[in-house]
């Protein structure tokens, strides 16, 4: 089993016990992964991230980062972690350079690292400008630069591409992939856009209303997507077709036709043969390929059974 950088054991949190924001969340983020933490707005993503970083109380002490807890090793955990939570915390009356200088002194990082991270996020030209003159995207990038200062082993990023233009999104994505590939940085990032996560994540966790509905590798998510594919059939007499096909598992009437879980090309062919043999005209036979977006919606709106795959 690969080493887990983030591990929570039935994490629970609520400002009032009657209204939990996070429910029995057991996150497992393997070392070296890019873990996309997906969920609609208000699902509990930011709260979870604040909990991970010790910004919210966790009396059960069931969060482990690098195998350690905040109560025992707060400073060690924090020194190995970079983060960007909600809006970047910038001192707007100071220059970009000064903002980095403050974090770098506290983190005990060499001065020349400032120009390196500025280069990484492409802000070298604006280093001497006050942060209040920055655009939203530049602020986001400066926030990212602050997070990258100490070359952390773990990056906790809350919607890192928020407020960026398409170009900025691509650049940020490439930067994160590069950090992950070249330095083995584990990245835990939240997003409400599946498409965004799909493009870079190796692992995915889907959260809704504080509950983890799916956790696994992107391959596992893709497999689940395949499982969800449906064969759609429209015939000249759907009612009789249903009788003919009663041996096919999961067959059911569906609007203008019939549907059954898709099990492969052979299945489609044999269904077709059976219908034709019984004198039923087949007008339409197709695989409705659930794309991930739809799957995500199905998982989060509760129309699909929660399915928590464990990474092993």
């Amino acid at each position: 089993m690969t080493e887990l950088i983030i591990q929570t054991d039935r994490l629970q949190f609520g400002f009032r016990s009657s209204q939990p924001i996070v429910k029995a969340l057991s996150l497992q983020v393997p070392k070296g992964s890019i873990y996309g933490f997906l969920g609609p707005n208000g699902a509990g993503k930011t709260t979870t991230m604040r909990l991970l970083l010790g910004l919210l109380p966790n009396p059960e002490n069931n969060i482990r980062l690098f195998g350690k807890t905040m109560t025992d090793s707060r400073l060690e955990i924090l020194s190995r972690t970079g983060n960007l939570i909600e809006t970047p915390s910038l001192y707007e009356h100071l220059t970009g350079w000064d903002n980095l200088d403050i974090a770098r002194r506290v983190r005990g990082v060499d001065r020349k690292r400032i120009s390196e991270v500025l280069e990484l996020v492409k802000l070298t030209h604006a280093a001497k400008k006050k942060a209040k003159t920055y655009s939203l995207g530049m602020k986001q990038r400066l926030g990212l630069a602050v997070a990258l200062l100490s070359e952390p082993e773990l990056l906790v990023l809350d919607e890192p591409t928020n407020g960026l233009d398409p170009n900025g999104m691509i650049e940020t994505r490439e930067l994160l992939i590069r950090l992950n590939r070249d330095y083995g940085t584990t990245i835990f990032l939240s997003s409400h856009l599946l498409a965004e996560v799909e493009k870079m994540a190796t692992h995915v966790g889907i959260i809704n209303r504080g509950e983890l509905l799916f956790q696994g590798t992107v391959q596992e998510l893709a497999a689940m997507k395949a499982n969800q594919a449906v064969l759609q059939i429209v015939t000249s007499d759907n009612q009789r077709a249903l009788e003919v096909l009663e041996t096919v598992s999961g067959i059911a009437l569906n609007g203008t036709g019939l549907k059954t879980p898709y099990q492969g090309k052979e299945q489609a062919a044999s269904i077709n043969r059976l219908l034709v043999k019984n004198g039923i005209d087949v007008y339409h036979l197709s695989v409705a390929d659930n794309d991930l977006e739809k799957l995500f919606l199905q998982i989060t709106d509760g129309s699909m059974e929660p399915m928590v795959l464990q990474t092993t």
């Binding site: 604040r50 910004l55 400073l75 020194s79 939570i85 009356h93 506290v106 005990g108």
Partner: protein, 256 residues
Amino acid sequence: MATLTTVYQTELIKSKNTFALWLVVLGAAFVPFLMFLIYMNKWENFLPKPGENPWNQFFIANWQVVSFIFIPFFIVLLCALVIGIEHKSNSWKHLFTLPVSKFSVYTSKLSVVLSLVLFCYLLFVLFLFMSGTLLGILRPKLAFLSHTPNVAGLLQFAGKSLVATLGMVAVHFWLSIRLRNLIQSVGIGLVCIVTATILFQRWENAVYFPYTYTMYTLTGDKESLHSLSKHEMYSLAYFVVVIGLGYVDFSRFYRG
């Protein structure tokens, strides 16, 4: 892990370009400058009696003006502005995820506030000398140049006044952390300052109210110049207790 000195340095960097810094300089210069204008224009009223040291009268006139509302309000505003840097930048969460203990954060912030108060007092004393010397040059009849100012006495008085502010510093340091909105802590401060001016010399229990302490220092007797007066001891006690309680609150419950 960052040392306390490092964190303190970063706190100083944060005060760059802020109004807090201007407040210290302008606050220290304001009254000596006004008194300078008054002495320049109404110099006949301030001619010293034969053998009298004009510096003493000049110092007293300045302290009288600042001790009542000016210094307490300066403390209230300074605390709100220095702490307000973090509120405004939404950066408590950033501070709390840096590898530095909450104790270092709290202590270095407090040190910055105290340094700025001390710096303001030093500037004030400096401006008093500059203002008096300039008056001596421009209005020779005021006889500033033919007398030596009582430097030791002035510094002792400044020291006592500084100690008298500590109670207020502690209260407003805590309030400013807890109240995100600058208006709230300043509003509370204003109400307390007005209350203090009403209670002072009208009710002996006013000596338990930290906002009156700079006024007590001003009206204290001359013999007490070499040691701390009762209310200054109270001010120190307030400081120790409130800063301590504030730290417990900050480290245990404050989440930014």
